[in-house]
Amino acid sequence: MIVVRKLVKRFGLKAVLRGLDFNVEAGEFVALLGPNGAGKTTFLRILATLSRATLGEVSIAGFALPAQAAAVRRRLGVVTHLPLLYGDLTAEENLRFYGRLYGLDSLNKKVAEVLKLVGLFERRFDLVRTFSRGMQQRLAIGRAVLHDPEVILFDEPHTGLDQEACAMLDNVLREVAARGRTVVMTSHDLMRVSELASRFDVLSNGVIVASVKREQLQPDQLLAFYRQAVQQDSSSNPIHLAQEENQLR
């Protein structure tokens, strides 16, 4: 479903991605882990067609980037730590607006379905700026799945959410994954991704340094796997590793 070969991304002289290879099969839920500055967000922005690679090949659902970007965007849903929603529009108006941009038919029915999926149907006439951060993030997932994409990219969706909001978000993520969609999610929260993902890839210094499937790993082994992968790279931040260890405990 996603094929990436020798991907390089440079900002000026600084190379953020350095010949990255990455494959995802249809229906997989891949957690992309890595320290700050490893290139996770840059990589996801390239997959999302929001940024261009300097070198390398990327194809999603058989369509090459950047040549067939519009076809890729039609099959892609993206959730970032920002909701990409308009505060002065209601939840329903936001979804209807994005639905029109995607040229969706039966928009009323689809908007109602998605609002029910993310648990915001009762609040559909409320302005988004009155929503809590967790509610906005749930609506952001609704926006991302409105056009029923084959691939969904999540860039640290739990950022800034309290425990209750994270738990509700996880339920929505499970629901989305249960529909057989291909998911790639970056996160620093090892505990959460250990319960959600079917595969764990570690990105460090612009390349994938390790990859393991969920069935090959006990949940309590994920931190050790992550530490081992990242410690191969001497530039990784030990403070960050300690923080993630605390989260897992």
């Binding site: 999302a48 929001l50 965007r73 929603l85 529009l89 607006f97 029109r100 941009l101 040229g103 926006r143």
Partner: protein, 223 residues
Amino acid sequence: MTFLRATLAVITKDLAGELRSRELLSAMLVFAVTVILIFNFALELDVKTRGTVTAGVLWVTFAFAGSLGLNRSMAIEKDRGCMDGLLLAPVDRSAIYFGKMIGNLLFMLLVEAIVLPLYSILYNINLFQGGFLGVVFLGSLGYVSVGTLLATMTIQTRTRDVLLPILLFPLAIPVIIAAVKASMGYLQGLEAESIRPWLNLLLVYDTVFIAIAFMVFDFVVEE
């Protein structure tokens, strides 16, 4: 059809959002009315002089009020990462430009529709002439077409509030000069022959900058 639908969706969204918040229109309107009042008291013009300065006063007011509106219009897209949401849609990205540009034009025309009668009353001058109103439209179109493109670029920077006027005003000089000259021609009742070169310049400027924006918007919005 997809292009048109996406353009309409962006326009409708901007109008619906502004109808609710009124942040953009109120800022533009308060600024424009204040400037007109300041000029009214500062200049204390006689009837003859009014005819020569009216066009300049009006276009300076429209240009500054317009830059306020352009900044706010793009700030809405930057807020909560909405520009990324637009760019993720499977539509020709120039449809997003046209949607934003037409929305900005509507806001600017609305402010002008309120400011012109007010100016007419304060300065006791008849501004409701077909030719003059046509110049107001063409001048606003040119200003907004280049302004929307530049606002999309500057919105990515930290100094966007300062940077937009610095980039916009030099590029908008031809459209402002042409609009002032053509407006003055109509208000002073000059013959069509002497106004036509300025109208032609306005038309060429509008066409060229809309075409440039259509071609480069995709590159402008990418990192």
